[in-house]
Symmetry: C5
Subunit: 362 residues, 5 copies
């Protein structure tokens, strides 16, 4: 079922892409679920000693936070109102290509540096209650005093950050916007470990299944898992390089201090890539195991057939010989002919058993 | 059938190459379909407030557009009149090697920078109505005020751009020639997503077929798809590196502004390469699945044989024993001998069934 | 069993990771065994002519060694008292991220350079008495006059260094702290050779098993070994690059002289990586061997079946013919009919044997 | 047969190498066919308005062409007279290592730049009339006014160049020696396309064979083709890098103008490498196809066996039952017993057929 | 057997490594055969016009050659007297790490540059009379006027150089120490071609065996050869990179002139690496061939069984039918019943044969 799902998804994906064919680059086209909820904006404004949550009623109230010296986290949920996104973009000085990527839910992970802001697209991955892998598009814009987060749905992986801001734990309250930007990346990548864990568990279940009860479906599940690993790698693996480039960047928006934290995230991204690589190799091993078990099973089947046939075919022949109707067959008249032949048959039977025992087939 | 076709194509390809053996480099030899339609030139001249479509009658009318400050899109369809191409080339100051590549429909994708122009060769790929993959050669020359497009056939993937110019949507009317050049690349690469979608659909159909009804032809289709992916990769994958070089280029023909857009195209090219890589791995998985299903089917066949043989061969032997003609076989005279032996046979039959049941073969 | 174990381990690993989800980066969370023994600190202070072992009672006594011109090896065993680690860190000027990595027993190998210290995380690998592979986390901090070693358990691979310090053998007593830092890395990497040896031995045992007595479990063991090699490679292979970067580093903490020794360690790390690569390829070969042996066995089984069936089925048919009850069957009345038919059967039997002999199946 | 041949060749190769064991580097040892024809020198001297072919009688007449301002193509056929080669080398100022490589027919492709000349070794590959792949060693030396070509045999791939010089077509008559040097490389690489075509044709023939009539020999042919591709790649693939280095070279012997042409050759070399890579992957696919067809065939064989056995073994048992000789078997006395049992047998027969039909085995 | 041997070797290897565990880096520990012959020193001193062979009695006589302007080849055979090596090292100013590597017979190939000398470790590979692959450790130190060669055994691959020095052939007598150093590398690498030849011959023998007479042992031999190629690659492949670094080195010990010769050696090393890569791929192909032949053989076995069973099982059934004892079976009373049934059986027999003929199974 995992496969079907991701199959359907990628199907939709390209259908979505079709919408954009022939359109000008920079056209702001939302590719996600059009019936999604209305756009909802929340602003968390804070510094070391101050914290306020705003629910702005109009764009002006949002833009007001652009240049205040406090750090503002502008959280925008719902991307289907593209004209709203466009207006926001204009006020915050975002490039049309950036706006296009914000609403393009199929955009692969990227980090683009502009003169006045840094723009990143990431994939949030998490496992929902139905044990399905959910992928969600998130776009983050880092300005001097403000981080804007654009999401499709209300669910996200940032509740830990919200709590730390509220409770003054961690460093986030004492640091500037670039640290908040880092914290978002950190939260997204930390969630990848859950996905890794999910794959790991499925891998172990399949390993059990291959070893103890391989069925035709098992091969299919292995291949699905392998395909899933390939797809996750595609969404996750660019992140490592992006962060690495960000660390080398000369943009003044990222302080030297924050780069030390980015090195830590880079480390996590590297670990995730390595894990995915290992899972890929393990899925290949699983398939090999599966094939070898199928061969072993066939061997077992063949052995049963061979033993049964090898024992009874000669005996049947012997019975057949004494079932012939020749007039003159001296053995038939012997008093103990029948018992002698039964004895011979028993001997052959035992000899065959011993032979197969010695061959280690029994 | 896809295979046969591409086989024939590559066959023709090398035959075409043969024409060029021993000829001087820079020889302008059209390798495409010689009976193709006559050369047709259209010029779309525009700037922000002005738009005119010309159908020039002679070369002078074409060359006139070289240095006008408006942007001119010189669209040349039909490459078999090599002397015409040569004359055009001379007037626009193109290198003979460039002209050779313009008409060499087998040329792999390339971007060459010259002092006065930038020259690119690309492969347009699209799926026609018969669901076949069509590959078409297109050569694009970027001059200061003018972009020349050389195509074999009337069909192309640039209708979206024509419309945007006509309707003043997008940026193309407000920008200079380099943006138009970028728009062509963008349109070509956007169409690759259709091809990716086509492969994806075939992949899913084959996945179904492998899982539910694998046949000898299925393996052949998988291998054809794999070969198709390899060939598309060959036409498509150089594009990424070419664009990357173009972004790093110091040519004055490409403005810094356009390079931001090129970064976006680079992103798409990267995505396409990643998809092709995934499809390649998926085709390998499909083949593995196919092989494992064949093995499973063989196992099933063997099980039927083994069960039938293991049950009836011993029973037949038993019947054979009491079909022997010995004079003295006490059981034969027993009143219920026949029914006892039938009972024994039933017992053996049931025992065997239980045995195979426990082995999970039934 | 090796597999199960490592499976469980990696399971625990991610559960450990879960603890950290949503927490601030730099949160000092011990992921190891919480019931581990209390923190134990030993300090070995020495220079060329002086050697003293301290068992400090409080933090001040530890910090006192920070700036003495003698070399101090501060050995801290037990990482579950995170508040202690935090205090130590503050006194020695360690970054919170460093402290996080010190207690994060799942951290992959890393070397980070800070202004006043160099920080490394490594995995000690060794084989315990039960022939199991043990992985242990160790964090090493190099300060100007002092090397701090943080370990989970009392066991370590540094006894050789302790002895050399005690007995004044080798160079360690005459050198400064950076040489001690190198000596730790050298000891850790030298122990990897034991692990390599362990894999090598298992590889040879499996090679024997595959060749002489392949069973279904054998395939499983091969795959386990392959997975083990993959996992070891993950813990070991980053080390090479880390040392290489350390050699190129411009930090004043590492003297030019010590770098010559680091080149030697780099050499060992390279050798270990090469060995792991070879073992990976050898495990693939083993699996191929296994599959070919399974096929050969199946061939043998099939040959037995084919020979038995091919010989006796025709003979049984012949016996069946003369078991028919037709009223007029001339051969049945022949005086020697029975013996003639026995002769014919013997002839067929011998002919079949010769046929299979010639086919080299016997 | 292709394999055997290339096997023998590589055999000879190493035997040739043995000649050189223990000899000083720079020893001029001809490794080719010692009975080869005598050395034959032809000089084509030309410039834009002048053309003369010389057949020099002695070395002085050859050396005379070294510094004339016209372009001289010194063509030397036959490499077994090493003392002649040595004298030529001394007069033209060639390094002994260059001379060694000129006569070492086993030398892999290389381009070495010296102060006064550029030296290249290439492999000419072509298909002879017997459809065999022929590899021939050619060494080319570019001096300021003169290009020397050293070949083993009279046959070469340069007739196109000779004609273009004679007929004044192309650019070669108007250009200097470096263009001639480029023209040789261009001709050699153009011929590789023929080899590619040859492999392509064999690939298609094998593809047909695998699909319609796979035999044990087919596998062998596929592997031979794969090995051939590997060997060609070895002779051909270094060329790409060599040309690339030549383009980046700062030698004054290569004009900027010629480098534009070299870029074109580089393009061709890249295309050839890509083709070889694709053929390598296709040969792997072919082998997979072959294996899957063998498995399918086995499946078919097994199905026939299983159907025959499953139908007739139970029927035979039934017949066996009524062939038993019990005194009291009521069915035997029934008037229609025989016809009833025939009916039952027919029923079983039909039921079995339907069963196998439903399983899609018939 | 090759495998067993190399297995044992690598076993010993790690046992040797164990000796070094816990010891200080730079500890001079001979890992080779302790009972090896005593250390033997020979010095060949020469320049263009002078040649003398010394057999020094003490270390002073050796050290005397360090600074004489003639070239001295100090050849030291036997490495078990580590105190002697240590003294030599001190006199010639060698780093303890260098001395450690000189006697560490398990050291992988390396070239280290020090201020006053260049140090290289190589593996001499050759085939002994018993057709076994022998690996021997050699360490070479290049000083200004002197090259020191450290070997385990008397056998080496340098006799060609000795002869060239004695006979004044080649350049070695006219050149300085760096040329001699190059000559050693050249001789070592030239011998690798013999090993390549050895592998090539075994590859061809196995190719024959796989094609004409595949047995279970064949698979084992293929895997052994593959493992041997892997191991040789490990000893040989670092050499290429080492020489490449040496060519780029700025050490004054290597003259520009000698670097031209090193380029030649680099070429040979590249060729050897390419060959090993090809042999690796060929061994994979061989294994595939083997597997396909096993499958073909199984197919043949199955065909025999299927044909025999399919023909005789229905016939036996028919015979069984007329062996039934029903009282009323009209056919049994027919005058020609027996002959009619024999005819029917013959018909079935022939029909079956034709069926299998048409299926191409006969």
């Amino acid at each position: 079922m995992g496969k079907k799902k991701s199959g359907l998804k990628s199907n939709k994906k390209h259908s979505k892409r079709f919408q954009k064919l022939g359109k000008a680059p920079g056209t702001i086209d939302y590719l996600g679920n059009k019936e999604a909820s209305a756009t909802k904006v929340t602003i968390i404004e804070f510094n070391e000693g101050f914290l306020k949550v705003h629910f702005p009623g109009n764009i002006e109230q949002i833009v007001a936070h652009k240049d205040t010296p406090t750090v503002s986290w502008v959280n925008i949920v719902g991307l289907n109102d593209t004209s709203f996104i466009e207006k926001i973009g204009k006020h915050f000085g975002l490039n049309p290509l950036t706006l296009e990527d914000i609403v393009n839910t199929e955009q692969r992970p990227k980090i683009d540096e502009y003169d006045t802001y840094i723009f990143g697209v990431f994939k949030m991955l998490y496992i929902n209650e139905a044990d399905e892998l959910i992928r969600e598009h998130v776009a983050i814009v880092l300005l001097e005093h403000c981080v804007m987060v654009f999401q499709e749905l209300d669910d996200d992986v940032f509740n830990g950050i919200r709590e730390r801001i509220r409770n003054q734990t961690g460093r986030v309250r004492n640091k500037s916007a670039d640290y908040l930007f880092f914290a978002f990346m950190d939260a997204i990548i930390d969630n990848y470990f859950l996905v890794i864990e999910h794959i790991n568990q499925n891998m172990e279940i399949l390993d059990e299944e291959v070893y103890h009860d391989p069925r035709p479906e098992t091969a299919h599940k292995i291949q699905q898992l392998k395909t899933e690993v390939l797809k996750i790698r595609r969404w996750v693996s660019p992140v490592k390089e992006l962060i690495s480039k960000l660390i080398d960047s000369e943009s003044e928006l990222i302080s030297k201090d924050t780069k030390i934290f980015l090195r830590d995230v880079l480390d996590h991204a590297t670990e995730i890539n390595e894990s995915l690589q290992i899972y890929r190799e393990m899925s290949i091993s699983l398939m090999e195991m599966y094939m070898s078990n199928i061969s072993n099973k066939m061997n077992e089947v063949m052995k049963v057939l061979t033993i049964m046939a090898s024992i009874f075919i000669p005996l049947t022949f012997l019975a057949g010989v004494y079932g012939m109707n020749f007039e003159f067959m001296p053995e038939l008249q012997w008093r103990n002919g029948y018992f002698i032949i039964l004895g011979v048959m028993t001997l052959i039977f035992v000899a065959m058993l011993l032979y197969f025992k010695r061959k280690d087939w029994l």
